[in-house]
Amino acid sequence: MKTLKLHLFFLLLLLTGCSIDNYPAPDAQLFGTILDAETNEPVEQDIIRGSAIEYIEHGYESQTKQLMIFKNDGSYRNNLVFSNTYSIAPVRGNFVPVTPQDVQVNGATQLDLKVQPYIRVKDVKIEKVGTKVVASFKLQQTVINNVRKIGLYAHPEPTVGEPMRTALAEQEINAASDPNKTYRIELDQAANSNVLKTGSQYFFRVGAIIDAPESKFNYAKAVRLAL
């Protein structure tokens, strides 16, 4: 009887000891796209070494910055966010820096980030000419800084970009771009025969980078070509 009592006592302790923790789970989702404020088009991004989103949850002293990255098409999504108010800003990117905005995140929260991209890569044509892949395009820059370089990048995956390529052709510009000029870059397939195989399909993407601190490449959409 006495042991039973003792057992019951410990059982009671065990049951009362652990109450279910009372913090709500991360039950909100935050998602959206980074958009060109003027054209409302998504601003193309890189995954590796690309632009980022920094967000700080309100109500904590530490002001710890949390980080998200973009997909290549400029979209982002985090399905495990604590419902709260956050200061959110896209940072270190291919756009003119913006100030953080305070956003109430609750349930499925869509937040499109409007920015002014440094460069718009326009009128892109990428085609195979003989043994070369030739890209022609125009550049419209929105700031007075120099354009540092332009490039044509190739990779088997649609996530192609300057930091993710198996072949590339680049040109140093280091000058302001001419909005009327058609820029032309050639990527020689023969010189990259083991990574650009005839008969296979690859993604090609044109990019340009502005000369600004921590700037990232601006791109046009990747184009799929069979060689």
Binding site: I48, R49, S62, E162, P163, R165, N192, V195, E214
Partner: protein
């Protein structure tokens, strides 16, 4: 009742006894602070421990820390060179992760241990000379420690005396100083060490001297100067930048370059140091001299300034270069040798004697216009054919032959066989795999021999064979068969040597555009003469950096050179490292060797993230410090 009485009596008895200090025992196996420091032998003992903790980037240093030769020292044979363009590992493809090259807790532990000594020096009953030496040594150790911290974290909290806990945790929290203040503190501590240390120790002990302190200052000031000059190659932003906790103003470069040049000059004009065997008769002699310098730095007392010694095989006293990095053929029973694979990038960097003043990339085809073609064997190309498997390297800098074991050269009495395959008479390539092939009654093996103990290249078995085409030699002792166990190597490591000081000087002169350019050029060319070069080359930054790469290869300098000059993110931008494949060409009789420049097999491109220029500061939740950018 009697029971109560007895208990009361016992209590009284215990109480009386308890008040005596009979329980205040001194531990018998430990020394008390005052006893330790009142005895010169005790101070020496304490000092030995501080030196042991010193963050010397030697054979036991890799991404997870220092002194990796106790407990379980198995790091898979990974070395710091393998995250640079100097080498790759036979198997691992790891690049730089957030947790790599951290050194925070250990750094502040060493600072505390040093501060304990510094605080007690004024009270010690020692002679003035001894006191001066103690002040000098402890400043040197503190300078060395803060240098290791500032190059990782930028500005850090400067703790200059022992902190005492009196119930208030907040009082112990010291905010970060600016990066400038931290560098200045390092240089100031160097100056204090220089002013107080003697030129040598009576018994020739391997302890800090005036010259070691100058050497440290030379290295640290050059690092700071480069950061100031080239910080804008990789701009950063954030709170830490706004408060100048990371980053230096461009204007600081001049004073730091001058400090580096002055400190180097002090060593150069002391007359105490010289290059080891500075004027070899020919490249063969130069190669041998250079090998001797690293096989045992004690061979070259005129060149080495500061040695970290390895006394005897065993935990904490030996290291593991001897087992990990032997070519497969001389494994001596160790299951996983051959792990340091010098890259084609490094091979290319060496000059050739007939073309001084430029890297001499290894040209493999008659056309010679395809250095950047890493696409593998191409039957339509006219490859240069060679009789021997290392003929293609002939005429290249002697140091290349002393740093790497080249295919077909002798090592420990064996011809080291490194072969990637062969081209069949019909023109089909059989590279890295496949069955033996018999032609005209002679059987050819892909890797150059029938048995896997008879070759050292390209076979994936065990991760024991080089995948870059050459094996590693520098620091390995040809005369010693290292036992196949942990911590069996006792090669000493030269932390500072005269050649580095000359290169620091040359770089400071050329980068600052001030100072004695003639002397700078001489410093550069003296090192080249020692490597068998006869023609002087001008003092340019490209010449200095190339010279650093080849002279200091594998001395764990390249990592910091890429960091301080902010060249990591451009050197490693979706970058593949490369190999050279010696291949036997059976299309001709007798068979000859051709060489193929190619990507390192089974490797991926590496990209350096900008934030890695600074490590993250651990434990900011508790220590309340401002974190570095992008962490």
């Amino acid at each position: 009742m009697k029971m109560i009485k007895n208990t009361a009596l016992l209590l009284v008895f215990l109480f009386a006894l308890g008040c005596g200090n009979v329980l205040d025992k001194q531990p018998l196996d430990k020394l008390q602070g005052e006893n330790l420091f009142s005895n010169p032998e005790g101070v020496k003992l304490y000092m030995a421990n501080l030196y042991y903790q010193l963050p010397i980037e030697d054979f036991t240093f890799f991404r997870q820390g220092f002194n990796w030769n106790t407990g379980d020292p198995n790091n898979g044979g990974f070395a710091p060179a393998m995250v640079t363009d100097e080498a790759v590992h036979t198997e691992f493809g790891d690049f730089i992760g957030n947790d790599d090259f951290q050194w925070w807790d250990q750094g502040y532990k060493l600072i505390r241990d040093t501060n304990i000594l510094i605080d007690i020096i004024p009270t010690l009953d020692v002679t003035d000379d001894e006191r001066k030496a103690l002040i000098g040594e402890s400043s040197f150790i503190r300078a060395y420690t803060y240098f290791a911290l500032v190059k990782r974290y930028g500005g850090v909290p400067l703790i200059t005396s022992v902190q005492k806990y009196d119930g208030d945790v907040e009082a112990l929290k010291v905010p970060r100083s600016t990066e400038k203040e931290t560098w200045d503190f390092v240089l100031k501590e160097c100056d204090l060490a220089i002013a107080n240390l003697a030129e040598s120790w009576p018994g020739g002990e391997r302890r800090a001297t005036k010259w070691v302190a100058y050497a440290l200052k030379s290295r640290a000031a050059l690092h700071a100067a480069s950061l100031a000059k080239y910080g804008d190659r990789s701009p950063i932003s954030g709170t830490a930048v706004d408060q100048k906790l990371v980053g230096l103003d461009k204007s600081a470069a001049a004073e730091y370059y001058k400090a580096a040049a002055d400190a180097s000059e002090a060593i150069m004009s002391s007359g105490k140091f010289a290059l080891f065997r500075a004027n070899p008769a020919n490249p063969e002699e130069a190669a041998n001299n250079y090998r001797l310098l690293f096989e045992d730095p004690n061979n070259a007392p005129e060149e080495v300034i500061f040695i970290k010694g390895y006394a005897r095989p065993g935990s904490g006293t030996g290291h593991n270069y001897g087992i990990w990095f032997q070519p497969n053929q001389t494994a001596n029973g160790w299951p996983h040798p051959g792990r340091m694979n010098p890259t084609l990038e490094l091979m290319d960097a060496y000059e050739s004697y007939d073309k001084p003043g430029a890297s001499a990339p290894i040209v493999t085809t008659e056309a010679g216009n395809d250095l950047n073609d890493y696409n593998g064997f191409n039957a339509s190309k006219q490859y240069k054919r060679y009789e021997g498997p290392n003929d293609i390297f002939k005429g290249k800098d002697a140091r290349m032959w002393a740093t790497m074991i080249l295919p077909g050269t002798n090592w420990k009495g064996q011809k080291i066989v490194i072969q990637a395959g062969f081209i069949r008479p019909d023109g089909n390539a059989q590279i890295m795999g496949g069955e033996p092939f018999t032609v005209n009654g002679k059987t050819y093996y892909t890797y150059g021999a029938a048995d896997r103990t008879q070759y050292s290249g390209f076979d994936t078995w065990g991760g024991n064979n080089t995948r870059t085409g050459v094996s590693f030699k520098k620091f390995l002792n040809e005369g010693v068969n290292v036992a196949p166990g942990w911590n069996q190597s006792i090669t000493d490591f030269a932390d500072f040597r005269y050649a580095e000081i000359l290169l620091n000087y040359a770089e400071a002169i050329v980068e600052s555009g001030t100072g004695d350019k003639v002397k700078g050029a001489k410093a550069l060319n003296d090192i080249r003469h020692r490597a068998g070069h006869k023609t002087d080359i001008p003092l340019t930054i490209d010449n200095v950096i190339r010279e650093r790469r080849v002279e200091l290869a594998f001395e764990n300098k390249r990592f910091w050179d890429l960091i301080r000059r902010r060249e990591y993110h451009t050197t490693f931008n979706n970058t593949m490292r490369h190999s050279i494949l010696p291949v036997l060409d059976l299309r001709v009789t007798p068979a000859k060797y051709i060489f193929i420049r190619t990507n390192v097999a089974r490797s991926n491109p590496s990209t350096f993230d900008y934030k890695q220029y600074y490590r993250y500061i651990p434990g900011i939740g508790a220590n309340g410090l401002i974190q570095n950018p992008q962490y």
